[in-house]
């Protein structure tokens, strides 16, 4: 699960609602035309032949300095430790990775970057990536395939880099035991090796057809062993992208300058239109958004990626709608029902009684920040199919207490007790819990919401042995990369319970086998099968989807080329330019 760490996310823990999302448009203006703002479906795509330079953004020119505002500072810029979407998006300006996403008509397409998109062996357990020649770090040194290898080894030092993504631990051969190059200096780790001066070889413990997608994470950017300063590396990471660290004040400001060692001809995705970037954190988001909308002076060159505040709704849908940047985000939120403790008939009754609309209102959700959800996969993930929603799982409506009561009576489960944890120190979660309790009570359930303080909530919600039977974490999920492979195997296998990332505590060996089977297919073939599985899982009523998050950010009047990055739910930075 990947989350944008932001104040917005803290406030909306219940719905996960971290990143926002909206309709991608092929044009550069990026804003919706008003009526057609619903989320569009993503097509799966890998383009192994993509080559640099990246196609020019129409109308783009070089020069100027872009300011980017956000309330919460990214927690780290050590590429190995980056998992949150904010640092990941900024990383797209700094770090080149074996593969990366290009936006084609607003949709992510996986393209080669430092390497090709990889070749897999027949047994699906060995991947070979071939590196391009002549790519240099900001200091002029050539990137070596050994640096790629070292960077991957480094990610196993989870004691130093605990926050980065961890798929390599389960998928890479020997990944469960290996502790990284600091502790296990002489370890005989065979998961990652090199061959010749341009081949990176990854050996897997189990098939991992989405590996080329995973290789787009900043974690896979090369780091020369000689330059590894461990904890200090985050303060001055070595750049391979079009920009490099100029000045970094942790927690408050980051200035990027153009990296003149970056070669546009080798890069199929990135541009270096602005001369410099300044990221500023720690300011009130309503204020910075108003500043960006006013676009006085340098604020005309600014982007705010906090997610537009509801108080500015009138302004951004009215006169200043051209400054609203809408896009998709890779997330679905809702509430999970513990299938171990609640029988199917009762789960159906909950769905019938569920007050989607009231909760939408109580949580302060707006049309800009979300759209009602009815599937597991959000529209930004290729394979999302907008099938007719399973009954009562369309994320809308005020609930049908009479109908729900009838279902309960028929099942002989009137007064079935439902309980969940909620944060009793924050107003919004309290309201949401109250609204939910009222509606369920009316439908003939006995409800027992358990209020806990913020400090204890994390522990309680992630305790799958707790006495509650609904609403445990996670309450939502975001793609790590845009395929079903970063959803279904994570959320619905039996082992998901043990891994602490289940929706509904499903423990069904038949389902496990089915998921594993699709997961081993090449991405192109898997896509359609994930869509079918989506509906099959929804019919189990283990998760009541409520919203797909949307991205809605504001940009200054002089900012061009801004469009939503559906893989992050943030503005796609490499295409941004300043109009004058």
């Amino acid at each position: 699960m990947r989350r944008l760490r932001s104040a917005v996310a803290v406030g909306a823990v219940v719905t996960l609602g971290a990143a926002a999302c909206g309709a991608p448009k092929p044009s550069n203006s990026g804003n919706g035309s008003g009526s057609g703002s619903s989320i569009s479906v993503q097509a799966n795509a890998i383009d192994p032949a993509a080559k640099g330079p990246a196609p020019a953004v129409p109308g783009a020119r070089k020069g100027g300095e872009v300011t980017v505002y956000a309330t919460s500072p990214p927690s780290t810029f050590d590429p190995t430790d980056i998992y949150f979407t904010d640092s990941n998006e900024i990383g797209k300006l700094l770090f080149r990775t074996p593969t990366t996403f290009a936006l084609r008509n607003g949709k992510p397409t996986l393209v080669p970057d430092l390497t090709d998109v990889g070749e897999v062996s027949d047994d699906k357990l060995t991947w070979t990536f071939t590196m391009k020649k002549g790519i240099r770090y900001e200091n002029g040194d050539e990137v070596k395939v050994e640096d790629l290898e070292y960077a991957i080894l480094r990610s196993f030092a989870r004691d130093v880099y605990p926050n980065g993504p961890a798929y390599q631990n389960t998928y890479f051969k020997g990944g469960k035991k290996y502790k990284g190059p600091y502790k296990d200096k002489d370890a005989d780790f065979k998961g990652v090796t090199t061959s010749g001066d341009d081949k990176l070889i990854i050996k897997l413990a189990q098939p991992f057809s989405d590996l080329p997608f995973y290789m787009s994470f900043p974690m896979f950017t090369p780091i020369p062993q000689g330059k590894d300063t461990k904890q200090e590396y985050k303060n001055k990471p070595l750049a391979t992208g079009p920009y490099r660290f100029d000045k970094y004040t942790p927690g408050t400001e980051l200035k990027l300058a153009r990296n003149d060692k970056w070669d546009a001809n080798s890069d199929a995705v990135r541009h270096d239109y602005p001369d410099a970037w300044t990221f500023k954190w720690g300011q009130d988001h309503i204020k910075t958004q108003q500043q960006v909308l006013n676009s006085n002076g340098p604020d005309a060159n600014a982007i705010d990626y906090n997610g537009v505040d509801a108080s500015l709704l009138g302004e951004v849908t009215g006169a200043k709608s051209s400054q609203l940047l809408k896009g998709e985000s890779p997330c679905t939120s809702g509430i999970q029902l513990d299938s171990r403790k609640i029988p199917l008939e009762v789960r159906k009754a909950i769905a019938k009684a569920y007050p989607y609309d009231q909760i939408w209102k109580a949580a302060g959700t707006t049309e800009l920040s979300a759209e009602p959800a009815s599937t597991v996969l959000p529209p930004s993930v290729p394979g999302h199919k907008k099938y007719t929603p399973v009954e009562d799982l369309d994320g809308q409506g005020t609930g049908d207490p009479e109908g729900a009561k009838k279902l309960l009576e028929a099942a002989g489960k009137l007064n079935f007790e439902l309980s969940w944890y909620y944060d009793n120190t924050q107003p919004v979660p309290q309201q949401v819990s109250q609204v939910r309790a009222d509606a369920l009570k009316k439908a003939g359930f006995a409800v027992k919401p358990l209020g806990v303080a913020s400090a204890k909530l994390r522990e309680k919600k992630s305790d799958y042995d707790a006495s509650v039977n609904m609403g445990q974490s996670p309450a939502g999920w975001c793609s790590d990369w845009p395929t079903g492979g970063s959803w279904f195997p994570v959320l619905f296998r039996s082992q998901s319970i043990e891994e602490g990332t289940t929706w509904g505590m499903l423990s069904d060996s038949v389902l496990d086998a089915k998921i594993n089977e699709i997961n081993e297919l090449p991405a192109e073939q898997a896509t359609a099968k994930w869509a079918d599985l989506d509906r099959e899982i929804m019919e189990k009523y283990v998760f009541l989807p409520s919203t797909y998050s949307k991205m809605a950010d504001v940009v200054g009047t002089n900012v061009g080329g801004a469009e939503g990055d559906p893989t992050m739910g943030l503005p796609f930075l490499p295409n941004v330019y300043l109009k004058s």
């Binding site: 699960m1 989350r3 104040a7 803290v10 505002y69 919460s72 500072p73 927690s75 780290t76 050590d78 030092a157 989870r158 004691d159 130093v160 605990p162 926050n163 961890a166 600091y182 502790k183 461990k230 904890q231 985050k234 303060n235 004040t249 942790p250 927690g251 408050t252 400001e253 500023k280 954190w281 720690g282 300011q283 009130d284 204020k287 910075t288 108003q290 500043q291 006013n294 006085n296 002076g297 340098p298 604020d299 120190t425 303080a453 913020s454 400090a455 204890k456 994390r458 522990e459 602490g500």
Partner: protein
């Protein structure tokens, strides 16, 4: 006098110690989840235990306190997993959220706050005292009345509204955009980036200083010794600006000392609205993200600043008023 200052110094030190204890106690009593805040959403029990260990959360409280104090005095080494971070004195701990020593974070924020507060002080002292004195000298005239009305009007508008209006509608147009660049990188860009904040904080505070100095000056000019000074036959200017001002400014200087302390620790609105990441913003962000080491450090530094400035006011007062110094 030395005894007096010593006494005040000792009590100041006691206040700092009490704050140290309280901010330390906060770490334990606060309804916060420091480990969760550091560990993030995918916290393994292993990692939680490690953080707990590196924060010394498992040691007896007294030992932890001793460690903390020792860090401030002599510095210490913080272990984070397999690696160690050297934290030289004065070590206020390590922000796991930002991956930086607290001292570094605070020291990088401090010049910003000091720049804002000192620059604004120049503005409000100049405008405030000048207009206050002129109003006092022309008491009852339309100039005086407009100063009084203006100061009342200014102080009845909430500060953050004034600041927001300035940021949203003037910065970047007829005022230079608000930003911070270190003085040593270029005094000109330092000053121009801070102009909006200086003017706003300065003019709003000038209202109060105009009122203080007007009242203080009127009182001073009514004193018997002013009549004595006039009876000596010295010029009216000398009467007002030597004899009157000298007494009128003594209480203003006291208020200024306390205000300065308050602003150094409470420039939060200014910093946040003008996007200047000073001490207030850093501490507030720490509160929002449960970054306890930074919270503690921020509170401790704030109290040290407050107490030091209060002490300096007391010492300054002994120089300003010989009756205190020699009484």
């Amino acid at each position: 006098m030395a005894g007096y200052i010593l006494k005040r110094g000792v009590s100041a030190l006691l206040v700092v110690l009490v704050t140290l204890l309280l901010s330390f106690a906060m770490f334990f009593l606060a309804p916060k989840d420091p480990i969760g805040a550091i560990c993030g959403p995918r916290c393994t029990p292993e990692r939680a235990a490690e953080i707990s260990q590196s924060l010394h959360l498992d040691d007896p409280v007294t030992l932890q306190f001793a460690q903390y104090v020792k860090g401030i005095v002599a510095g210490h080494t913080i272990t984070s997993g397999g690696a160690t971070v050297d934290c030289p004195a004065p070590c206020l701990g390590y922000s796991f959220r930002l991956g930086q020593p607290v001292t570094k974070l605070l020291m990088q924020a401090m010049p910003i706050t000091v720049s804002i507060v000192v620059g604004a002080a120049v503005v409000y002292l100049t405008i405030g005292i000048l207009s206050g004195i002129l109003a006092a000298r022309r008491r009852g005239t339309s100039f005086d009345k407009s100063i009084v009305a203006g100061t009342l009007g200014l102080s009845s508008v909430p500060y953050f509204i004034v600041a927001l209006l300035v940021v949203l509608y003037t910065a970047g147009t007829f005022l230079p955009p608000s930003q911070y660049s270190p003085f040593l990188d270029g005094p000109l860009s330092w000053a121009s980036g801070l102009t909006a904040a200086w003017l706003t904080l300065g003019v709003v505070n000038a209202a109060a200083y105009a009122r203080y100095s007007r009242a203080s000056m009127i009182e001073a000019l009514g004193e018997d010794y002013i009549r004595t000074a006039r009876a000596k036959g010295i010029s009216e200017r000398r009467v007002v600006y030597r004899h009157g001002l000298r007494s009128a400014l003594t209480p203003v200087a006291t208020i200024f000392g306390l205000d300065l302390a308050g602003q150094l620790t409470g420039a939060l609105f200014t910093e946040r609205i003008f996007g200047l990441p000073g001490l207030g913003v850093v501490t507030l962000e720490a509160f929002k993200t449960d970054d306890l080491p930074v919270m503690m450090g921020g509170i401790l530094l704030g109290s040290v600043l407050l107490v030091t400035l209060n002490l300096m006011v007391d010492i300054l007062y002994t120089f300003l008023d010989p009756r205190v110094r020699l009484g």
